[in-house]
Each structure stands twice: as structure tokens, then as C-alpha cells.
């Protein structure tokens, strides 16, 4: 966000430190504001999911409407790992990421080079296929009921049964994902995918293997969704097909865009918070909260697709003076 940004080292920015500090403190005051610890865990999980998703949507411009498949695969993989391999967080999460990444790579091989509506519809189609598999493949997935009794293993002898403790494990992964993604965005790779979003054809004519880049972005984004899914399975203690449904896949799309994923790295983070606040605060008032949230999404796409972060940037841009020197210029013009 303009005005308070700026690198501390090459990897961590001032904004990141602030965000980390704020989020780190959540378990201390979340009960006091009338909410509950588990909500913090949920929000972190979906933040990770949305950040990875935004790599595909906001930065590369590809809308995946079936991303729940990878989230779900991560969840199932984690559960199955706990039940059949070994009860261990790191191995479980590792397997979750691996499974989701492989699934993502497989799908990406089919579709990552497709454009526009073909891409979007194929993501829906694959999402539905995975969902169908989750529902029908009883032996592996437990069918419609899903996997039950997924344990929360201890981490370095610390029990995670307490939601607060789980929060900090999720926070650990959140920090990793944020730092890694930030780095990726500001690397040559990140620059290239942004260029691809703007002008795929020209990127090709400059010499980039556009297809391969899109493949990699899709796969990475699926892997991160798998990480979130694994944490989700651990938090919920179960894994079930519903997370792969179109309905739920749509949630991450809406969150990411409303928050401002198109123009800001932190957009998805913001969007996730807004979504859960809407769910838990609005949701108490009315059963139709999701309907209103969806309508808000439509209005945002119509009038301000840059989302909340975009609005924030508009407000702060007028106050910040433009820097003329070449060295710091990339930051102000990059906007994220």
C-alpha cells in the first residue's frame, strides 16, 4: 500500500512486518471483540489459499473457477497421510502440497495455455470431475461424508488441540507463503507473468515461453491451495467434497477480487478478512448474507474491479508525491 511500503531487507518489507504483527496478535484480542479463536485459524487458512489463488487471477489474469479441487485434494491428502502413513504435521502438509501440486500440474497440462472462456470452463469442468471423484470414490475419500477423525498431531511436542496453538502453526505457514510469494512477484518470473497478463502475444515475440510460464503459475497456485487445504483438514478434523464444489470454489474468487487482488499483493488478505467478517457478523443478522456478498461482488466487478485495495490506492495516491529517480521508480509504478 502506497506510503508505508519500502524494503527493510531484500525479502521483508515494512508492510509485511506490520501485517505480521497485527495478525500475530489476533489470538490475544479476538475473544474480547466477541469472536472466537477458530475464526482466526479459518481466516489464516483462507488467506493462504487466496494469496496463492491471486497469483493466477490477479497477476496472470487467469480466472480459475475450480480451484477448490486443489484445496480439497490437499485436505484429503493430509487426512489420508495421517490415517495411513504417519501422524505427523510436516509430512502431512508436505503430502498435501505434493498431491495438490501434482493434480494442478496435470490439469495445467491440459488447460494452462488456453485462453478466455475455454480456460474458465475447463477449470469448472475439472473442478466438477474432482468433486465427482471425491463423492463417488468411497474407498479413498469416504464419499459424501468425507474423511473423518483427522487428528491434529503434536508439533515439537506442543499439542495443537487448542485452536490458539493451531493458529500459530497456520501463522507460520502464512509467513512463509507471504515472503515466498512477495519474492516471486518481484523476481523476473513475477515480472514476466504480469507482462503475460497484459500482452501475451508480445511476451511471446520477445522470446518468452508463455505456455510454460502459465503452466508453472497454475501449478504453484494449486500447490499453495493444497497447503491451505491440508491445514483446513487439520483444523476441521475432516475432509469432505463440498470444498471442491463450484459454489465454494467461487468464494475464493470473490474474496480475492473484492479485496483488490488485481492491484495489490495484500488484496487477497483484505478480501479474506472482509469475507469472514461478513459471514460471522452479517451472517448472524440474516441467512441471506452470502447473497448480499455475491451482489457486492457483482457491483465491485461492474464499477471498481480493483476492489478495496484499489479504492485505498486511489485515496492515498493523491497524497504521495511521485518519485522521479529511476531506482525507486519501479516500486511506485509497479503499485504492488
Amino acid at each position: 500500500m502506497a506510503g508505508i511500503g519500502g524494503p527493510i531487507g531484500h525479502w521483508i518489507t515494512r508492510e509485511m512486518v506490520i501485517a505480521f504483527a497485527v495478525i500475530f496478535s489476533i489470538p490475544f484480542w479476538i475473544n474480547a471483540v466477541g469472536l472466537y479463536q477458530y475464526l482466526g485459524v479459518e481466516i489464516l487458512i483462507w488467506m493462504i489459499y487466496a494469496l496463492g489463488f491471486n497469483l493466477l487471477l490477479g497477476y496472470t489474469g487467469k480466472p480459475s473457477f475450480g480451484h477448490g479441487a486443489y484445496f480439497g485434494i490437499g485436505a484429503y491428502a493430509f487426512g489420508l497421510a495421517q490415517q495411513h502413513v504417519v501422524v505427523n504435521v510436516w509430512i502431512g502438509i508436505g503430502i498435501a502440497i505434493l498431491a495438490a501440486t501434482l493434480a494442478g500440474a496435470m490439469v495445467a497440462a491440459f488447460i494452462s495455455h488456453r485462453r478466455g472462456i475455454y480456460f474458465a470452463l475447463m477449470t469448472i469442468a475439472f473442478g466438477q470431475v474432482f468433486w465427482f471423484a471425491a463423492v463417488k470414490w468411497h474407498a479413498l475419500t469416504g464419499g459424501e461424508d468425507g474423511l473423518q477423525n483427522i487428528p491434529r498431531p503434536d508439533v515439537f511436542s506442543i499439542s495443537l488441540k487448542d485452536n490458539e496453538a493451531l493458529f500459530y502453526l497456520a501463522f507460520f505457514f502464512f509467513v512463509l507463503v507471504v515472503i515466498a510469494l512477495w519474492r516471486l512477484i518481484h523476481s523476473p518470473f513475477g515480472k514476466v507473468i504480469k507482462a503475460i497478463k497484459q500482452n501475451e502475444m508480445r511476451a511471446g515475440f520477445i522470446g518468452y515461453n508463455v505456455r510454460l510460464f502459465k503452466f508453472m503459475v497454475f501449478t504453484i497456485s494449486a500447490g499453495i491451495a493444497g497447503l491451505a487445504g491440508g491445514l483446513f483438514a487439520m483444523a476441521q478434523g475432516s475432509a469432505y467434497p463440498d470444498v471442491m464444489s463450484l459454489h465454494v470454489s467461487g468464494l475464493v474468487v470473490m474474496m480475492t477480487l473484492i479485496g483488490g487482488g488485481f492491484v495489490s499483493f495484500w488484496g487477497p488478505v483484505l478480501g479474506t478478512v472482509i469475507f469472514f467478517l461478513a459471514r460471522d457478523i452479517l451472517g448472524v443478522l440474516t441467512e441471506t448474507w452470502l447473497l448480499w456478498y455475491g451482489l457486492m461482488f457483482i457491483v465491485v466487478v461492474m464499477f471498481k474491479p480493483e476492489g478495496l485495495a484499489g479504492i485505498w490506492q486511489d485515496l492515498t495516491r493523491t497524497r504521495v508525491s511521485k518519485s522521479e529517480s529511476v531506482d525507486t521508480s519501479l516500486i511506485s509504478s509497479a503499485r504492488r
Partner: protein
């Protein structure tokens, strides 16, 4: 001892559906020269250009660059070999600044495209290179301007800058004077004159005067064929050129 031409097209045929657009096109471009391709609209010169730069695959024939056949290779492979082109319809990265547009094309970045760790905003070598290219095309001082807010003439210059930034062995310019005014035209002519000294260039152009002033050799494409070829002086004396509208302009 004669040196083989740097870039060649041999027996190129291309049809779209029923229509034969290019027929038995043979062209040769020497290294270090500025070669022009001209011809009326719809005559096939744009298609020819697109075949040479890999956008279309010819039905028959070969395209050869530095002795190596590149026919039918995807544009990105051809670009990696050192062939670069600009576009007639401005084809930039509109959300990027002028600098970023060029930066994405410089070899320091292009060769490290898959690097997910290096912080590009600290990469002074790459940034300096990009700034230099911008300076060369006359966009010094406008590095941080969002490219979609530059004037048309500046965008034309940026369009060429992006093609230039890849440090190609051969540079194709597709109607670089499209839509620009007289002042920008003079600037462009100067730029091309200056680029001539370092790059082998092939320019497709509508503006006869521009081409005749700058090109070493020109090929005239009409009715899908090369109907005349030679230095500007030779062409001025050419019967066909003289009798056509083209002759009256130069």
C-alpha cells in the same frame, strides 16, 4: 568472397483458404543493411512480414536466418535466436511504465525469466540497460510514465524500444511511421538512421519517401510477388515504379 545473406526467404507460398496471398517470394537481406519492403495495401507485404517473423507458417518454402532454417518455428524460438520485431498496431504492456516495458525485454531479464528469487527492482544492471535503450529512442526522462499515458509518437518510439531491447541480430520494423505526425516522423528517421549503424534492419513501409531516404535496398511486393528489387536509385528508374503511383512520390 561473398557472404551469405543474413536472412533469406526462399520460394515462399502462402494461402488463406482459397486465396493465394504470397506466391514464389524470394528475398535476401544482407547483414548490416537496411532493407525495405514496400507495396500497396493488401498486396501481401504484411503477410510476407508475418511469415518472415514467424507469426504465420508458409505453405511452401523456407525462411533462413544466419544459415539456419527457421521456417515454422514458434515466434518465441525465433526471437531467442536474435530476430526481433516491432508491430504496426502498437503492442505494448499497457499497465507497465515505459521502463518496465523495455526491462522485460532486456537479456538480463529474459534469460532469467524462470528465476523466482532474484529481486528485479534491485537489478541495476538490467535497469540501466533498459534506461539506455529508452534514451536511445528519445524517451529519456519518461521512464516512469505509465506507457498508456504517453503520446502516440512516444508510444511508437517505445514500441521500437521494446524490440530493440532484446539486443537482436536483426530487427524488423512493421510500418514504424504508422499514424505519426511530421515532427515525430523526422525524429523516427533520425532514430532509424542511427540504428542503421548497429543493426541489420528490415522495414516494411507505406511511406515511400521515408523508405527511399533510408533503405539500402528495397523489395517491392505486389500481387503476392516480388515485382521489383534494388537500390532506391535503381527503383526510381524502374519502369513499373515510375508509372505507378509510387513513382510519383519519390
Amino acid at each position: 568472397m561473398t557472404v551469405a545473406p543474413l536472412f533469406e526467404a526462399r520460394h515462399i507460398h502462402k494461402r488463406f483458404g482459397d486465396q493465394v496471398v504470397l506466391e514464389e517470394i524470394n528475398l535476401a537481406f544482407e547483414e548490416g543493411e537496411l532493407s525495405g519492403i514496400m507495396g500497396p495495401n493488401g498486396a501481401g507485404k504484411t503477410t510476407c512480414f508475418n511469415v518472415l517473423t514467424g507469426r504465420y507458417k508458409p505453405d511452401r518454402g523456407q525462411v533462413i536466418f544466419a544459415g539456419e532454417p527457421i521456417t515454422g518455428l514458434p515466434p518465441r524460438v525465433i526471437a531467442q535466436k536474435g530476430v526481433s520485431r516491432s508491430f504496426q498496431l502498437i503492442n505494448l504492456f499497457d499497465e507497465y511504465s515505459a521502463l518496465e516495458n523495455v526491462l522485460i525485454a532486456v537479456p538480463q531479464v529474459r534469460n532469467r525469466g524462470f528465476n523466482m528469487i532474484r529481486n528485479i527492482e534491485q537489478d541495476t544492471a538490467a535497469i540501466d540497460k533498459a534506461a539506455l535503450v529508452l534514451e536511445r529512442v528519445g524517451l529519456k526522462g519518461k521512464e516512469n510514465e505509465p506507457s498508456d499515458q504517453l503520446s502516440y509518437g512516444d508510444r511508437r518510439a517505445l514500441e521500437i524500444a521494446v524490440a530493440l531491447a532484446t539486443e537482436p541480430r536483426i530487427l524488423f520494423l512493421d510500418e514504424p511511421t504508422s499514424g505519426i505526425g511530421i515532427e515525430a516522423m523526422a525524429r523516427l528517421a533520425e532514430l532509424v538512421q542511427e540504428l542503421k549503424r548497429t543493426y541489420t534492419m528490415i522495414i516494411i513501409e507505406h511511406d515511400m519517401k521515408f523508405l527511399f531516404d533510408l533503405a539500402d535496398r528495397i523489395s517491392v511486393v505486389h500481387w503476392g510477388q516480388v515485382i521489383a528489387e534494388g537500390t532506391p536509385d535503381e527503383l526510381r528508374a524502374n519502369k513499373w515504379v515510375k508509372s505507378s503511383n509510387l513513382g510519383k512520390l519519390v
